[in-house]
């Protein structure tokens, strides 16, 4: 074993140029893989983050049936009792929400919007719209009937800070209710759609508008770092008093997003297979050359009594060393290359318009996951091993006499 390893290792350095070419091939493949994977991961992370952090949090408690047919008749009664129970669940922040469709208009224009009644103090702990204020503030002043709207909507309605808008919606009693609200804050998120459609007002204003007492539409829950989604769902199920509600995770809320995450997962793996297959072909090629250069040597070894399987094993080790060197160098270089963006993020403002439409941040932080590295390493090692099987098989099948006569 030790000697087999020794011979394999030294054989690599017999033709350093060829070995470095092979190692470089592996290095390039690894960097390509780590780059693609980490940026895709960063992108996926941003997509999920947007879905969670702008609206609704990780988990929502909604009325039974609301997810399939949302309407204001469906609401959570006795939210105070639920809030008491929620306060006992560790690792979460929660905020009440009243949400319904409506219309926003100014003297110049109008448009359909989603009106959201929130408790600003609590909402800050769950979503990050409060951090995206570009003018005014997030319900900090005492102004009555205050509204915080997106930049896009403000432009459409042509309203400025301090000006009034009218919000209209159908109330519980089927009548059209309306109220005048003063714009106290304007936000800009990464999503222009969000900035056009979402209007925030105080919770009690919203309740008053559509005729709720203390009922709400939902609780939005933010999960603190290190707490598991499914475990928390279980916890909530145990803790909350029984009632007509449903616990919905962000995954259930965003089936299309979850689907695309899966597609990205496949894409990463497919990409890995493609580049490693390219590496594998280079290895087959080189090793076919290698064995023809060493035929005589194999002949001498076999004459001495070295078994073919030992010769094959020497070649396996030789490729393993090459791929391990290449992978190590590749991973180190990847950290050096992508590490900078990992800390500072890569600003894709040039293409930000498209991303903004998708509701994804324009700054991507590539994420290098240990699991991705291990999978990559596993695939490289196994595919290159498969690649060398054929040359190794050929090497071990030479007839001793022919090998000895080979010049």
């Amino acid at each position: 074993m030790k000697t087999t390893l020794k011979i394999a290792w030294r054989n690599i350095w017999r033709n350093p140029r060829r070995s470095w070419v092979l190692i470089t091939t592996v290095v390039v493949a690894v960097i390509g893989y780590v780059g693609t994977t980490s940026f895709t991961r960063g992108f996926m992370y941003e997509m999920v983050n947007s879905a969670i952090r702008y609206y609704g949090g990780h988990i929502q408690i909604i009325p039974e049936g609301y997810d399939t047919k949302p309407n204001i008749q469906l609401r959570l009664s006795h939210p105070d009792r639920m809030a008491e129970a929620l306060a006992r669940v560790p690792g979460i922040h929660f905020a009440p929400l009243v949400t319904f469709k409506g219309m926003a208009s100014s003297s110049e224009a109008s448009g359909g919007v989603v009106i959201n009644g929130i408790d600003p103090q609590k909402e800050r702990q769950v979503t990050i719209v409060s951090e995206k204020i570009i003018a005014g503030d997030y319900f900090e002043s005492e102004t009555a009937n205050a509204a915080v709207i997106g930049e896009e909507l403000a432009e459409r309605l042509n309203v400025r800070l301090g000006e009034k808008i009218i919000l209209m919606a159908s109330a519980l009693d089927q009548n059209i209710a309306s109220g005048a609200f003063r714009v106290v804050g304007i936000f800009r998120t990464v999503s222009t759609d969000f900035d056009r459609a979402f209007v925030f007002i105080r919770l009690d204003d919203a309740q008053k508008l559509i005729g709720y007492q203390d009922e709400i539409t939902a609780f939005s829950i933010h999960l603190q770092q290190g707490y598991d989604l499914q475990q928390t769902v279980e916890r909530l199920r145990e803790t909350l008093p029984p009632g007509d509600f449903k616990i919905q995770t962000w995954r259930e809320r965003n089936p299309v997003l979850v689907l695309s995450l899966e597609v990205y997962e496949y894409f990463i793996f497919l990409f890995l297979l493609i580049i490693v297959t390219a590496v594998a072909f280079t290895i087959v090629n080189s090793f076919l050359m290698v064995i023809y250069e060493r035929i005589r040597e194999f002949g001498v070894m076999m004459a001495m009594g070295v078994l073919p399987k030992r010769i094959r094993r020497m070649l396996y080790w030789e490729t393993l060393f090459l791929t391990l060197i290449g992978s190590t160098v590749g991973i180190v270089l990847s950290y050096l290359i992508f590490g900078y963006w990992r800390r500072h993020g890569l600003d894709l403002s040039a293409t930000s318009d498209a991303l903004g439409k998708l509701g994804i941040s324009t700054v991507i932080y590539p994420e290098i996951l240990m699991s991705d590295l291990l999978i990559g390493l596993g695939v490289i090692v196994s595919l290159t091993w498969i690649a060398v099987l054929y040359p190794a098989y050929k090497a071990s099948r030479f007839h001793v006499v022919d090998a000895l006569n080979f010049v």
């Binding site: 000697t3 020794k6 011979i7 030294r10 054989n11 017999r14 005589r296 040597e297 001498v300 070894m301 076999m302 004459a303 001495m304 009594g305 070295v306 078994l307 007839h399 001793v400 006499v401 000895l404």
Partner: protein, 229 residues
């Protein structure tokens, strides 16, 4: 007892045009323990073919080879490799050594294959190399850093260290100048005399024939003369 018993050995090759070539044409031969024998003959007479068959590197068309009582026809694949490892030593014309191993490691390697423990391996390999006049300094060089004569002495050490029943040497001096070749042969003859190691050479080198104690002449795959000297 005879170490090698060859009976009615025939080897037929086909050349490029599928025409059969009788490289060996009914050879009968016995080699006894402790012999120092050379097989001589013109080029193409079948010397290498005969040695390869005795060494179990190739299969005869018909006839049999027994080495140390074992019929080589009965062995195949791994069993034959194992048999070579324990009973046969080989020295070829050139490029005998594994290029990436030092002289010492080359000699050790065969002992490793035989399963000899590490300490004994190093001890025996050093001793053998020293006996063949390879200095401590040279032992750690790779074959490419040794002269042709030194390389052949390492090859002899590798063959003898394994304590085979017989060493088959196919023109071991053909690539050496006559002085180096002569010294190498003297060394082998000395080992034959002091340790009773059996050598079988193939050659058309006059020097080898002179030193051999038994000379077998073959022509067209047949033994034409066999004399003790």
């Amino acid at each position: 007892m005879d170490i090698v018993q060859v009976e009615n050995l025939v080897k037929v090759y086909e050349d490029q045009n599928q025409v059969p070539v009788r490289a060996l044409d009914g050879i009968d031969l016995q080699i006894g323990e402790g012999e120092f024998t050379a097989i001589a003959g013109p080029s193409g007479s079948g010397k290498t073919t005969l040695l390869n068959l005795i060494g179990g590197l190739d299969k005869p068309t018909s006839g049999s080879v027994r080495v140390a009582g074992q019929d080589l026809n009965e062995l195949d694949g791994n069993a034959l490799a194992e048999f070579r490892l324990r009973n046969l030593g080989f020295i070829f014309q050139a490029y005998n050594l594994i290029p990436v191993l030092s002289a010492l490691e080359n000699v050790e390697f065969i002992l490793l294959l035989q399963g000899v423990p590490e300490e004994e391996r190093i001890e025996r390999a050093r001793q053998e190399l020293a006996e063949l006049g390879i200095s401590d300094d040279m032992m750690h060089r790779r074959p490419s850093e040794l002269s042709g004569g030194q390389q052949q002495r390492v090859a002899v050490a590798r063959a003898t260290v394994a304590r085979p029943r017989i060493i088959l040497a196919d023109e071991p001096t053909a690539n050496l100048d006559s002085k180096t070749g002569g010294l190498l042969l003297d060394k082998m003859r000395e080992m034959n005399e002091s340790r009773g190691i059996t050598f079988l050479f193939s050659t058309h080198d006059q020097m080898v024939m002179e030193r051999a104690r038994r000379l077998i002449l073959i022509r067209d795959g047949k033994i034409v003369e066999d004399r003790q000297r």
